[in-house]
Each structure stands twice: as C-alpha cells, then as structure tokens.
Symmetry: D2
Subunit: 494 residues, 4 copies
C-alpha cells in the first residue's frame, strides 16, 4: 500500500474557491459526525460511578503496565470500554481490513500523530489502527460532550496517552490539548484534527513544531474553514488534506447516518409505531432524503417541505408530498426538522399541532425548533423519560418534544458505526499519504482527498460485503479513456 501510494497519486489541485462555500453549508454536515454512543444509558447499571467526584487531573491512575501518561475519568472502566470497542470493530471492516492490507509493513512507522477527535468506540478503532500501522499517537477530545469515559479508559489501558473525560470544563479542554501536544521527548509530525482547535493551539503556542509536521488532516467544515483563513493570511505552515469533501463522504455520510438512525431515535424515546403515521420532514437535502427513505421503508406517510425548487421536485418525483409546514401541521403525527436553518418550527406552528404530536430535530444544532418559545408560564413541561418531555397546554393538549430540540441522532439513537467508518478510513489514508508522500508532492496548501484514495476507501468497504468488483478489459479501459485501476470518474465528479 505504501508503494502504491508513492507511485500513483495524482495530486488534486487545491480548490481555492472552496472557502466561499463554507458560509452556506458549513453547519449541517457536522451533525452526523458529532457522534456519541447511546450505550451510555444501557450500560449505566454496570459502570462504577464512585470516582466521579474527584477531578481526573487530581487523581493518580496507572494502567496495568504501570504508565500514568494519560488523564481520564477512571482506568477501571477499561474492560467495559474494550467491549464497546470490540462491538465497533465488528462494524468497521474497512479499518480492520487496512490493518491486514499492509501485510506486516508499517506505513506509519516513525509517525507521531497528535489527534483531537470525539472519543468514542469508533474513533478508538481508528486510533488503534494507526498505532498498529506503526504510529505513536497522543489523543484528546474535540468536544467536551462527545467523550465516552470507558473508551478513553480502554485506550489508556492499551497504551495510548489519552487526555479527556466526560464533563470536562472548557478550561480542562484546553489543558487536555496542551498535555497532548506538550509531551517530554515527543514531537508530533502529523496532526489529525476535527474542528481546528488542536491545530490552532499548536499554531499559537508551539509554532516551532510545524518544522517537523508533515501534514494536517482535517475532517470538519469549520476546521477546513479555519485552515483556509490561515492559508489566505499566508500562515499555513504545512500541507493539509481536507477529507470532508471526499466523494465517498459526500455520497454516504449524511444520507446513511440519518437513514439508519432516525427510526432508532424515534423508537428508543417514544416506542412510536411508524406504520401509517403522518410525518413531515422539513428539508430534503441529504439529511432529509435519508430520513424520508427510512420512514417510507417502514410505511409512514411522508410530507416534505423545501425552499429549493430542485430538491422539491426530487421529493415530488420520489412520490413524497411537497407541502408548506403550516398546511399540514394540524394533521401530522411527527415533525422532523432537517433544514440546517433556524426557527423552522415556531411557537405558532407548535400551537397548531394536534395533541400527541412528536417534534424532533435531525438537522442542525438546536436552532431548528424554537424551543425557547415554549418556556412560557401557560405551558407545563413534564419530563416523561430521558430525552422526552411533554409540553402541556392549559386545555390538556400536549406536544412530545425529543432531546429538547437538540439533535435526535446524537442524543437518542445508535451511531451507525459502519457509516462513520468511511470517514475514519479517509482520515487514516490521508495520514498515510501525507507521511509517505515523496518530497515536494504536497506544499503548504490545502488539498482535496486524492481521487484514487477516495475510491480505495470504497474498495476497503466492499470487502465486508459479498461484493465483487468488475475489472475493465484493456480494450474497455481504452474505449472509456480511463486507467484500469482507476480513478474511474473525473475529478469534478460529485
């Protein structure tokens, strides 16, 4: 694989017009990658909760090999975290395949990766894959909410210096980043970032480290945005690969994450029967398309709202009814927002819903439903279950609000790890590529994920199916004007 990479990569031109896109689509695509296993709930009976009071920073902890180079909630949760990682491994065949594909070669031997991502079972599989391919990793969290303590414990027990715990403060957060970067006798030569906090911490505090850094891999829209700002200011000090815009991520991530999790989120919270229910899905982008596909598959009647006539026409031609929210609000049983916009469900619309209507958000942050408008003295809030509130009107009508309007698929459903594996694999391959690329291939610029690697991510996933790719004959390849081993599509293909 290393050899393969060194020889054949066609370096995509850095698309500098990219920055302009960010303001428009910046927020939504974050939604599904901001993952957190919902198993917290299920496992709450088995976890030891005793050391929760003391701050991890003040605790003395060692793993079984005697190392104390980590800072987590409790190393004692390692066994449970290991089981969660094992569950995730089942659903991340591409990374498991990558471990084998190198056949003993260590394409990351010598790599020292500092990483800042969610700390979940599926990122643990990525981190341990990088380690198995030869890298030394130090890791911290990119979000104070998206940390599974058990997984952090399992990583620490396994020898990865991890600095993160659920419920850490904003201050702790940067303390952790610093501990991760500023290690005695260890200097990173690769950065894996999600959001840019790590990159910017290094840029501000330890700029000298960039001398040795071979590259940055950034996954999030906002992180890429920050890289472009650096670039435009002439301050980008190393090559960077933007994995967010890879074809494979665009084609699979939002659509399948939402398709796989929307029913799950509704069921776990409300046990609602979907067959025959009238559901309105606000927004028919990739998130809305994924939700609609799942809902129709289980027999719901689905209405769609859209502002963009082209997406609207797609909804129509798929047999969905395009409506305005206020025209259907009185009769629907479930309202799901997927617009990436704000105040899509207003108090006025909430007033029009029938009693028992379920309202939730799959789209963007917590802005889509105007939850604040429900905090008036005439309404009573009743907590029914975790993530389920009944908002009761004086006349007895009640609305079922899920996750207080925050993202349903982060709060209340499974994480479709298989889909997340796609992104994790692009990250791993991007790191390998940056580390092994011949001198001069990458400059201090921001690069798209190479098309050939893009296709290779798919190849690694296909192994997990009983799926067989067809190979072109020489004659056919010539006729099509493509190389037999790809890439098969032009660079502009989306």
């Amino acid at each position: 694989i290393v050899f393969f990479l060194q020889q054949q990569i066609e370096v995509p031109q850095p698309p500098h017009e990219f920055k302009d896109r960010l303001t428009k689509t910046g927020h939504r695509s974050l939604s599904c990658s901001l993952s957190r296993s919902s198993t917290d709930n299920l496992s709450s009976g088995t976890k030891p909760h005793t050391d929760e009071e003391i701050s991890p920073q003040n605790k003395e902890q060692k793993n079984s090999k005697g190392s104390n180079d980590f800072c987590i909630r409790s190393i004692r949760q390692a066994a449970f975290g290991r089981r969660e990682i094992e569950m995730a491994e089942q659903e991340m065949p591409a990374l498991m395949m990558l471990r084998k594909a190198t056949q003993g070669e260590k394409p990351l031997a010598g790599a020292k990766i500092v990483g800042c991502t969610h700390i979940t079972a599926h990122t643990a599989v990525l981190i341990e894959t990088l380690s198995l391919l030869g890298a030394q990793c130090r890791w911290t969290a990119c979000n104070i909410y998206s940390i599974q303590n058990e997984v952090a414990a399992a990583l620490a027990e396994g020898g990865v210096p991890v600095f993160a715990w659920k419920g850490e403060s904003e201050e702790d957060y940067f303390w952790c980043i610093d501990k991760c970067v500023n290690a005695e006798g260890w200097e990173p030569n690769l950065i894996l970032d999600d959001g840019g906090d790590l990159t910017h911490w290094i840029y501000r505090k330890y700029p000298q480290l960039f001398e040795n850094i071979k590259g940055i891999v950034e996954e999030s829209v906002s992180g890429v945005h920050r890289l472009y700002q650096l670039y435009k200011a002439g301050k980008l000090c190393s090559p960077a690969i933007n994995v967010n815009e890879s074809v494979i991520k665009q084609k699979f991530d939002n659509f399948y994450c939402c398709k796989e999790s929307v029913l799950d989120g509704l069921k776990r919270t409300t046990d609602v029967t979907l067959s025959g229910k009238q559901v309105v899905v606000c927004g028919y982008g990739e998130v809305g398309k994924g939700c609609c596909a799942a809902l129709k598959g289980l027999g719901a009647i689905v209405y769609v709202t859209e502002i963009d006539p082209i997406c609207a026409l797609q909804a129509c031609m798929e047999g969905l009814q395009l409506a305005r929210l206020n025209d259907v609000i009185k009769m629907v049983d479930i309202v799901i927002t997927c617009t990436g916009n704000k105040n899509v469900v207003t108090r006025e619309l909430l007033e029009s819903m029938k009693s028992g209507c379920i309202v939730c958000n799959m789209g963007h942050s917590n802005t889509e439903i105007d939850v604040a408008s429900l905090l008036t003295p005439d309404l009573t809030w009743r907590r029914i279950r975790k993530h389920v509130d009944h908002i009761v009107w004086p006349d007895g009508k009640q609305i079922v609000l899920l996750a207080k309007g925050r993202l349903l698929n982060l709060s209340c459903s499974t994480v479709p790890v298989y889909v997340l594996c796609i992104t994790a694999t692009t990250q791993a391959l991007a790191l390998i590529e940056l580390f092994n690329a011949p001198e001069g291939r990458y400059k201090q610029d921001i690069y798209m994920f190479p098309k050939k690697l893009d296709e290779y991510v798919a190849v690694l996933h296909l192994q997990s199916y009983d799926a067989h790719l067809t190979e072109l004959t020489d004659e056919q390849a010539k006729y099509m004007g493509v190389n037999k081993s790809g890439p098969f599509k032009p660079s502009y293909y989306r």
Copy 2:
C-alpha cells in the same frame, strides 16, 4: 354503542372444528402479544430500588386514597408508571376513542371484571378504559415475567386492585390469582383471560361463581384450546368469545408487531448498520414477512428459508431470495429465526457462520436456536452488553448471540403499542358485547368475535389517521349484496 350492539349483531356459529387447528399454529402467535416494555432499562436510573428485598405480600402499602386492596412491589413507583401509561395512551387511540364514543353512557355499568393479562402500560390503558366505561375491575398477571411494577403501582394508585409484581414466584402467581377472585363482597360477572389460568382457577376453586358470569373473553391460542377441552367435556359453564381468531388480529398483529420491532431490537443491542447487510430470515409466515418488509425497507439484502412451497413462492415473487440455510450461512451477517420450529440454527450451522455474525430469534419461545449446543468447553461466552453475548471460538471467530436465543422483540425492542391496541380493543368490545347481549344470544359455547365488531375495531383505529371511509350508496350496497353499515366481507373471509 350499546344500543348498536344489542340490535344488530349476527352471532357467528361456533366453529367446533377449530380445536384441531391448535396443535399446528399454537405457539407462534403468542410471540408478539407477550409484551414487555423495554423501558425498564432506560428508566433504571430513576426508579427507587430500595424496597426490593421484602416480599410485597409482607408489606403494608396504601395508595393515596387509603386503600390497601392490592399487592404490588411498591406504590411509590406510581408516578413513573403513570407517565408510562400516558405514553401508551398516545399510541392507543382506538381505546381512547372508545372512551369517548359512549358519550357518557356506561355500557359496563354493573360489570365486575376479573382480569388476568400481562401488566404493562398498554394493558393498563385497557383496564382503565373498562373502568371508565363503568366496570369494576380486579386484576392479576398472566405471566410472572411480563409485569411492569411501575404500571402496577399506577393502577393501584388509580384505584384498581392489582395483584402482581415482577419476579413473583410460581406460588405467588396463583396466590395473586386467588386474591383477585376471592374478594369479600365482590363477585365477578365477566372474565378477561390470557392463557386460561384464571378461568381454570375459578372453575376448580369457585365453580359457583359461574352462575353470575356472563362470559369469558380469551385472547391466547392456548387459552382457547383449554376452553375447547372444557366444552368437549361438557363442562363449559358460560359463553366465551375467542378474540384470537378475529380477522383484524390475524391481519395486523404478527406482521406489524414484527415489522415495527425487528430493526429496533437489532439496533438497541448491536447498533448494527442495516444498509447492505446480508440477512437470512428463517420462515416466511406473518412474522417472517414482517421482518423482511422492515429489513428491505432499510436496504438489507434478504434471504428467506421456507419449508412450505406456497410461502416460498410468495417470497420469490416479492423479490427475496429463497435459499437453504446451509447454502447461505457462510456469507450472511445476520440470522433471524421466525419459523415456530425447533433447532433451526444448529451448532453445525453456527460453526459455519463468519466471525461477527449476529444470531437472534423473532419466532417462538427459545427453541429455534440450539443455544444449548454452544455450552461446550471449547467456546468462551463473553457478555458484551445486556442481551448481547459474544461466543468466541478458539481461533478467535465470534458469534453475536442476542437475548440468549429468546425472543428478540420481547427482550430487546420497543413494544409497538399501536398494534397491540388492536387486540386490546377487541377484548374491550367482546366484554361489552357479552355484558349487554340480550338473553339467549350466547349460550355455553365458544364464539368467534362477531364480524361487525371486527370491522368496528378497525373503524376506531381509522379515527387516529386522517383517514376517510367511503360509504356505499343504496344502489351500490344492493348491487354488492351487502348492508351499508357492514359487515362487508363474508364470514369465511380471512
């Protein structure tokens, strides 16, 4: 509604050949009605567990009105149980409609119902509906495992004498039945039974009660079987209505219960991504058909095994691949049994599965997967999560076994309450009919659920949709030879 019932019911002839059917289909149809809310897990953090050690029989408990005529785990769980009942009410619109449909009349005024069913949120909605329609109810459980303590508490707090707690012993079970029947100054005149234990207890211990009993409503296959045995022995002492064979139950119950719960059960236990997964569903009866519909809806590749060529041809014509289990076992990701048979998945087949294969049972009791065959010293069992075991082979291969081979939809998924409401409504209507039927309409015999009421159950459910029935014109009714208000299908229609 009472008037309606008294006038127009056409009493269906008791189908005495029915008994012969039982041995063949007796087991499977129980599967989905044996419901237990999975919210136990989710709520475990909020429930007080402190009084679990003392037997309820030895505890002094009173509800807020001072009554102690009940025996449950803890009256203090009533508030939580009430919230669960409220969630269920949302999904039981037909019963809620029935409460309103009588418009203040009390068709069950004077009725004294002794009931023996699962004690869950959805049966609570039934019990409270019967109470609101005028009945006095006393209740006990039909199964020592299917009891939600919180719901029992809410019922007791609401004034229903309930005798049941989770984890009661076999002995406790009959003690509870006895307490329920043998109340001072109270004699039942209606029986609602599920399985026949209550009916037989009365028959053996208090046969004199049958003098006043206007009828028995029995829901389960086995309970109906026991009634036929009584009938054939000339010992049936009151009319009985068999609601299990109603058209509406046959058309909706197994199919939709399984369609709604199979994905949920898989997701809650394993977080598995279904898109593209290869799944084999063993058996293509109603249970298998429901599973396949849901799995295809989410993009799985589905194989079906069948022994009956007619069902097999149905699978083929729906685009499913009909295969023998041993021909596909090597490549599938998930195995789901729905046959109603035993040893469908043998050790030999388990040996052939690929590592990571998920194995579970939606069909019948715990016989379909030969779990016992996995209890050999060469295999290691590892509990991963609640209801999830990894069985590990010496070479590292592991199988993911769910619920130890017991029913996935009982153990690990939501209960599709909306579907269960169909059965609950037939029970309520059957009780009303027996209580209000003119003298002589029903004899000491076993009756099918009247066709007209069968259709009325559907009418009550249609209200919850934005659904509008068409009415025949006089001319059309005459042309079709049916009454404008139904029944619309002949009695043999299935």
Copy 3:
C-alpha cells in the same frame, strides 16, 4: 407423479356452504383471468387479413397433415401463433416442468378432454401440455372476445381440433361447443370448463356422456356457482374440482396479475410518467393492493378509497392515504377503479376532475365508471389512439378515458403469463388427479383442490427461480405435527 397422486391425496371435504359466497365475490375475480394477449395490436401489420370476410364455417381448410377437424379463422396464421406460444412457454416454466416431471409416463394416456377456455397463447401451452401427457383434446372458446386467431391456427396445425375464431357470433359460439363435443367416434371422459357453458351444454344435449366422464375441472366463480346449483338440485352427474378456490390462486392471481399489468396498461395507452403523479385507487382488495404496490414502486403518490374498515386500515398502515373520492378528485392525475362495484366514478366526479385526468378501470366488467353519463351532447369525444378517448368539455377541459371504461388489463396491457401459469397448472393437476384417482375417492360432488396438489403447483413454479426449499428434519416435522412432504398448512389456511 401418478403414483404419488394415487397414494397420498387426502380428499378435502366438499364445502357446501360455499355457494353462499358467490353472490358476494362473484364478479371481481374473473377480471384477471379473462386474458387476451395485447399482441394483436403489435402484430396487426404482419398478419394476413384477407380471408376475414368468409365465415370459417364455410371455409375448407386443412392443416399440413391433411386434417380438417377444426374450425378457425385461417390456418395460414399458424406460424405466427406458434411464435406467440413459444413466447408464452418461456413464461410458463411450471407447465414445462410438468411435461418433464412425468419422465415419459403418460398420466393422461386414455384421457379424452373436452375443453372450453380462452384461446390464447397461454391456454395453448396448457392444451399442448395435456396432449403431451397423453390426452386427446378437443377445444373451444369460453368467450367470443378472448380468442387469438393465430394461436387457434397453431393449435389446429399441431393437431388439436379447435373450434373458435375472433368475432364469432353468439350462435357460432354454441355451434363451436357442439362441434367440440359431438365428434364421431370420440367421447370425452374429462371436462375442463371456464364458466360452465360447456358443462351445461353436455348436460342438456348429451347427458349420456356423463356415464364415462371421470370429472369436471372448473376454474371460474360463476361456473362453480352453476355446479352447486346442479348439485343442490341433485343433478350433478360426476365429480368436480373447484380450482378457483385453491390457496395458490387466491394468494397470487389477482394481486400479481394487477401489479404486473397496471403500469403497462397506463404506459401503452398514454405514455404517462408515473413518478410523482397523484393517483387514486378505488378499492383495496387484492386488485387494488396489486395496483398500489406497482404504483408506489414507480414513485406515484397513491390515495386509496375503501368501504371496508379492515381493508382501509391495511391501506393506512402501508402508508397509503385513505380518502373519499370526492375529497381528492380535484387534484389527482389518474383514477383507477378496483372495487367490483358499479358507478364508483359518476358524472359528478368526472365533472370535478382536472383537465388531463386519466380514468381507467382495473376492477370489474365495465360498470365501475359511469361511461354512459358522458354520452351527453355538451361533451365531445375524440379518439386519440386505440383505447384512448379524450372527452372534451365546452370550456376545453378534457378527461382521458381508457378502454371506454372496460378492463384496462384486458384491453391495453400485457398478460402476465407467468401468473396465469399458476391457474393453468392447477387445471392440469386437477385433471390428472380426477383421471387417476382410485375408484371411490371422488363422488358426484364438488371438491376443493387438494391441499397437497396446491403446494405441488408452487413446487413446480419454484423450479424456475434459483430457489431452494428447506426440508424438515424428522424431529422438526414431529415437533410441528406435519408430514415432511406436506401439506404444511391446515385445510382452513387461506
């Protein structure tokens, strides 16, 4: 196969209550079996039309072997008919399999079958199968409209005495039946009838033939009805098997015939794009269910009207919107009737439709759309294509009426021969059974199609798929209480 039949058949009890059903479902089920290949249109350019003027009764025709024992339009069309039969053979694998299954044995050796069915490519495959299994056949048409002259020619050329031509008069029709029965030196011993005209002709004119007749196989609802009338009058002179009520016919015939032909009928006539079109399907029986399945598969938005609340609830739970016709009539693009009723689409409703609305009937005869009401002077009829009329209102609005309200799937679409093969195979097996049954198995009564043969029809069809039935182990068969070779379902199973 003969041996198999002689040994193991369990004779089903004649269900004498059956007659009562007829008035209720009598009409609809005929719809899809009344098939006529639409290839007439396509081939009209190639057929010689020259001898159309002379009545076949007055023509001297001989086939290539010199026989003139037939009466058809023109023997010269035989080659074209042969090609149509070959096309049909491709789609009738079960009959082709039956030809082979006997392995040279001739289970119908000695059988003399007089048949009265539609004369189409697929009945030709049945007739030739019977001949290949040893029978001598004489054939006539059961309907003056459902005759493919080319197919009749091919049969005559192949040696089957056929008496039928398209456009024959009512009088000709009975002349043909008589010629078929009343042959010198040939007496039938089996009757295959569709509608009962042949049976009644023999009963009235040649009752003595019944002495040798081993049985009648009747396929249609009305034919069975007439047999019951004979039976009740004590005049049934031979055993009869009712193949209409076979499980396999009930499960497949109407549903799949309509699912396969509704899109085809719409496309061939109007070229309409279905994606996103709003369609109302009137009636949600098997015909309506089949139409809805196909329409949803191609992305139409489907509304359903129903009178029966149980069928209505099925529609709802499948995600279809249940509406009254007058509530949706203004917005729909296509109206399809499948009710079996009359005047479902009235002039008033036609007035409300939007311009361009397509109106057609998949249900029953030509009664569902009140076409007569459109024959008023204010409306202009314009023939656009074959089977397509524009009815134009004074204001320019126009309705697209297909097949003048007659059955779309008979007039304008393909015949799904594969589905028709199911019925044809039941007919063949019923004839074999009657001919080979041991003395005394069948009396002068009307029998249901034996359950075991019912399943065998499915087995023969499964061969054409890459489909593999599972076999029960001895232990499993015992556990289920069924025989390993079937039948697998109880006799009441529908």
Copy 4:
C-alpha cells in the same frame, strides 16, 4: 418573466476546463434524450401509407392555409400528429405553464429561431411554445431516424416550416438543414441545436449570419464539445449556452427516463412478469440506478456489476448484490447493460446464459452487447415480434435479444415525456435569456445554464403537482446567507 431575466441573472463563469470532461462521459447521456415515440407501432393501422414511394422533395404539398414552405412526408397525416402533440401537452405542464406565465407578453417577439432537434411530439410542444412566445421558427431534424412524420405534418399544418421525414438519406439530411437556414427574406437570430450539425452548417456556409445571431443553445454533449473546439480555435462567433450541464438535467434526465421506461420496454417486447425474476444490471451510474429502482419496485431480484468502487458501494448499501457478470450469468433471467462501455456482454457470456434469458441494452449506442458475435452459422436467428429475436443454439437453448442490442428505451418503450419536458424547458428559457439579455452580458463564449433559471425550470414543473414550496423568512434567509428568491445552492452544487 422578461423583466425578471433582465434584472437578476448572475452570469456564470464559462468553465473552460469543461472540455476535458467530454471524452469521458460523452456518450451515455445522449441515450435518453434521443427519443422517439413508440406510437408509430400502435398507430400503424390508421396512417395512410400511400404516398410513401415518392420523395417529399418531389412532392407538391400545401397546408390548409396554402403555404408550401415545408418538406415532409405527407401533410395529410397532420390530424393524427396533432393528437399525438395533444397527448404530449398533457405531460409537458412546464412548457404549458411557460406559455401562460408571460401573460400575453411576447418575450420572443422578433426572435427568428432556426432549430435542429428530433422531430417528435414533445419537441413539437417546444417549437409551438416558442412560436406562441413570439418567435418565428424554422425547423429540421438532428437525426434521420428520430422523425415522426405525423408530428412534422402537424407542425407544417400549424404554420411552422419543417424540413424532415422519416427515412431521409444522409444527403437529404443536409439538404433539409440548408432549406431551413437559407430562406428568402428570413435570417435567424437564434440557434437551437442538438449535436452541432446545424451550427456547423451555418458556420461553414453562411458565416455572415452570425452577425445577427444572439446566441446558440446546445443540448448534447457532442454538440457542446464541438462548440469548445470552435472556442479554442478562436472561431466561436456568438454566445452559447450549454444546457446539458444544468443541475436539473443532471438530477432528473437519465435517472427518471430509465426508471420510467425500462419496465415498459421489457413488457412491450416480451410480456415478461418481473416479480421474482433475477435481473443483472451492468453499470450503476444514473442509468443503472434508474433501472434498478424500477425493477426493485416491481419485485425483481437485482444484481449489479460495477467497475467503480464508489458506485459499487452505493449499490451494496441500497441492498443490491454486487457481482461479476460471469458469476451470475448462469442463473439470471434478464441482462440489462447500462455501462456506456463496449463488449460488456460477450459471446462467451451469451454461451453461459440459460435458455430463455432476455438480453437488452439501456446504456449506450449498440456497443454494449457483442451482437456481431452471434452472427455465426451455428446459431439460428428467429424474428418473434418486432424488436424481438430468438437466437437459437444447436441444442435448443435460446436467447431473447431485444432491439438487436440497440437502445431498448428508444426502440421499444414509451418516451417519458414529462422528464423530457425538463430539458425542453431549459432550452426555451435559455433562448429567452439569450434574446433578452442586456448588451454585454454574454460574450462569444460558452456559458453554463444560469443557476437561477435552473431553479426556475423546477418551479415550472412543481406547478403540475399539488406541491407547495416553502418561502424563507427574512431572518432565515439572512441566517443561511441566501437570497429569498434563490439561487439556493452554490454554483458548484451538483
């Protein structure tokens, strides 16, 4: 609309890198736009065929207004052609809406359009729309095979000078183009081209006309390619708009054209029942995706072959089985090629197919199936129906080859006019835009279809559904950073 256009259009930058794409995707996208109504067959009985022998060039014909400025097969077919156009109007609501949207204004008043397209009912609706909006049109065919004589007659009768007839020679073809351009007293100021033959004829013969030409609208990939060649050579003499790359065309054209026509093509030729049939679709681009969607909707078992791993993974995750053709060829019932490649189905693969296998091409020209390899003496070709050949092997095995391997959807199925309307509307809007654009907006360059018009095409189509777009509030538009009236997506959106 004119005002709207003049004010708000944002001129997209000419994407000069575009040319490079052509060699790779050039061929396939042509397939579905190369439409020809299949009604030729159906109507063959009604058309007068008498004047077919004389060349139209030598015939004296006048329309009813006395004009002879046209050259077509026979003006007498006008009435029939008019009915076909009326059928098409039903399915082209966006163009009909455009006729109304101008509210009496004539945005093309003064426009003189010379057009070269297929001559079919749906292009007739376009041409007549342009005329109604004020343009004077002269028209000719872009392909000698895709001409409906009746439609040409109706256009000529309606006053449009048309020069085209079915079966015209290569030489006639250019004679027609010339007659179209070179009219006395008439000089074109707009060109609508499909393929570039017209544009190049003018460029070579009448270059002086470009002085007055305001722009060229080109629809085909190859025509755009030729424009880029002119541009690079510095010889492009007028602005051009490339409508092929519009978002709306890319999202709808191939996918829905194929989804709507594949079942139709199979049914009209072979009457095949699709339920349960095993089908392999070669290629999972837009064409393959459309075919698969339709086939799955009707219950076929679908295998997919792909060379591109990303498309392959999409197939997998949609529940389709990815296979190599030679691994499944033995068992499939139908083979459909959609690759855009050559020799996908080789003689070797044809040898492996089972008897009765149907083979057809939805993809590209006639190269995908190696039909030539079947022209060997050992095989017998038998013409069964129009477009249906049985290729018979010495052992009796036969393959059913449709349309001799040419495009099934052009030869054997309906044209989904509704989908074609999308392209026709882009053409009309592009012409209006070029004609009305303020001086200087467009230079002698090739432009993408403006994003705003792209969305407007969708708006016009939405009118035909009962579909309601949502409008952004000011606050929301600001939050999203878009204009309330669009465009809603960035220019790179695909």
